[in-house]
């Protein structure tokens, strides 16, 4: 007992952490190891990285990974640019808070209802096709064509602009405003001011928005899945479709392997982002 006591911190602060830590152990850390174990075994015997090899060679998996990466590569920057521009427009407006509330509202709409809106627009018998038909054009099967990807991106941007916008706007509040005065007195040009003050102080926020946008790009799958179904057009068959189908087939090996790969990819991304941000911020200040 006395040896144990030596390792425990002197005060009882650790008690505060205990509930959360136990919960994390039971619901995240321990099952993550079980999942890792599943991904390294097959039928009870240890197969090292065979499952990984099989999954990585799986044609459907590759399609899903490529599509997911393309979706992220297109939607995340687009979302960030629009949010940044809106934040710049909002800055200095008296009604800033009011507009922020409006832009945040789409976050709390139930997915099913939003999906109904998009469906009414883009379905085979949707409103857009109705207008095309009325004007003598051929109808377009939006969901079954390559239009599915732009539509998925549109749905993502509609839902996530508000969140990124709030982060940008609050990040902007933390810039010491005196610096703008000083730079202006020193005769710096607008671009110089942007590069030396705005860009430097907005760096942590920008990385945060980037990270959050990537997380949210995985979250939008709920809407995409409801809108486009289980087996959508090839261009929008995402990693989550792949995983959902494995889940339905109760294929623990492939499922665990995919989850492990996805987790490692996200961790790697987070580490790269964090180091990059540190380095960039340090090089300026």
């Amino acid at each position: 007992m006395s040896t144990l006591k030596k390792y425990l911190p002197r005060n009882r602060i650790w008690l505060f952490l205990l509930p959360s830590f136990i919960g994390m152990l039971i619901f995240f850390f321990i099952p993550a190891f079980v999942s890792l174990y599943h991904s390294l075994t097959f039928g009870g015997s240890f197969v090292w990285l065979r499952n990984f090899q099989n999954t990585l060679e799986n044609f459907v998996f590759r399609l899903a990974v490529n599509n997911t990466m393309l979706f992220i590569a297109l939607s995340v920057p687009l979302n960030m640019i629009i949010a940044f521009l809106l934040a710049a427009l909002l800055e200095g407006l008296k009604q800033k808070k009011f507009f922020l509330v409006l832009f945040m509202l789409p976050l709390v709409i139930p997915s099913g209802s939003v999906v109904f809106f998009w469906q009414s627009l883009f379905a085979d018998n949707g409103y857009i096709n109705r207008i095309l038909l009325l004007n003598g054009y051929d109808t377009v099967l939006w969901f079954a064509s390559d239009w599915a990807l732009p539509i998925a991106i549109l749905v993502f941007i509609f839902k996530n602009i508000g969140f990124s916008l709030v982060l940008f706007v609050t990040g902007y509040q933390f810039i010491p405003k005196e610096y703008y005065e000083i730079a202006r007195i020193d005769g710096a040009s607008s671009f110089q001011i942007f590069r030396t003050v705005t860009a430097v102080y907005m760096m942590p926020t920008t990385f945060l928005v980037f990270m959050m946008s990537i997380i949210n790009s995985f979250r939008i799958f709920r809407e995409i899945y409801l809108l486009l179904g289980r087996y959508p057009n090839r261009s929008v068959f995402m990693l989550q479709h792949f995983m959902n189908n494995q889940f339905a087939a109760a294929n623990m090996q492939t499922l665990s392997t995919t989850a492990t790969l996805l987790s490692f990819a996200i961790m790697l991304l987070a580490i790269v982002c964090y180091t990059l941000q540190r380095r960039l911020t340090d090089s300026y200040s």
Binding site: S35, P106, I109, G112, Y127, R130, G171, F218, L255, I266
Partner: protein, 292 residues
């Protein structure tokens, strides 16, 4: 008029248009909720029948006659949801008994854990915190596997607990609140500790009142998430009558319309209320997540 004023007006116009566009789905749902159930079904059905054949059709289907304004404004959709059809109450009640424990649980666990992280003097705590952040970043699909394994092992598979418990211990709240505590004046805590206040006193009387923005942000985001739970419910809940409203609405979207607009509006209402209550503090609470 001065150039400055013109720029301001141009800005205001651009932002207003952008806001109006981003709110189109909300307008669509809320305005259509004042449509009669019959009108909604005739407008949004694919089936050709005596009522829809006068609209736009081809030989296979009727094209949706989408509209932001109903032909006749009526509360009949709301009457169906609130007075006539008890299934809506059932689903909303399911949502309540799922979402409320999810949010309250996080509120019980996250702030004290964040405080523990902030005050604990242990060289391993930062490694643990990094693990928390990693877990927070993982997409739901990657976490469903671990949650499924635990639910099986604990025998809570098929019950609400399988959805509630992982949410309660979600690391996001811990992260959010700790980031705000970092900006907090440490001297105050030291002074109170020296005066003989124990950790619990310091937490409840000094720290807790000062982390309101982060807590508010947590309430709003956790509630929005819990209120909109779909995937976990589909995976863990077997019985149809136990599904939350969010799942019901998403199934309606694929099938027949009924009173979906009124039901959606009713269902959106609590989330919007929580959001409006929290919006003043929320931006501040989120703002701290960017600081290291």
């Amino acid at each position: 008029m001065k150039r400055k004023d013109l720029i301001k007006i141009a800005r205001l116009t651009t932002v207003s248009i952008a806001a109006a566009i981003s709110l189109l789905p909300v307008f669509f749902i809320v305005f259509n909720s004042f449509m009669s159930v019959f009108e909604a079904e005739m407008r949004y059905t694919a089936i050709i029948n005596p009522y829809t054949m006068l609209g736009v059709t081809d030989e296979f289907m009727h094209y949706k006659d989408m509209s932001f304004l109903p032909q006749v404004i009526t509360l009949s959709g709301y009457r169906t949801v609130l007075l006539e059809d008890p299934t809506y109450y059932r689903y909303i009640w399911n949502s309540i008994i799922l979402a409320v424990p999810m949010v309250l649980g996080q509120l019980a666990v996250a702030p004290i854990a964040a405080y523990g992280f902030e005050r604990l003097r242990n060289r391993h705590k930062d490694k643990l915190f990094i693990l928390y952040i990693f877990t927070m970043l993982l997409p739901m699909q990657a976490l469903l596997v671990p949650h499924f394994i635990t639910a099986r092992a604990l025998g809570i598979d098929g019950s609400y607990l399988a959805i509630i418990l992982p949410a309660v211990f979600s690391p996001f709240g811990v992260f959010l609140i700790r980031q705000q505590m970092k900006g907090f004046n440490k001297n105050l805590i030291e002074a109170a500790s020296l005066d003989g206040a124990n950790s619990f006193r310091v937490f409840s009387s000094i720290v807790f009142p000062n982390i309101k923005p982060a807590i508010t942000a947590l309430i709003v985001l956790a509630f929005a998430e819990a209120w909109n739970v779909v995937d976990q419910a589909v995976v863990f809940i077997r019985n149809d009558y136990e599904m939350p409203m969010s799942v019901f609405l998403s199934e309606v979207a694929a099938g027949d319309v009924g009173a979906i607009f009124a039901a959606s509006t009713v269902f959106m209402f609590p989330a919007i209320l929580v959001f409006i209550y929290g919006q003043d503090n929320m931006a501040d609470g989120l703002g701290y997540t960017g600081l290291r």
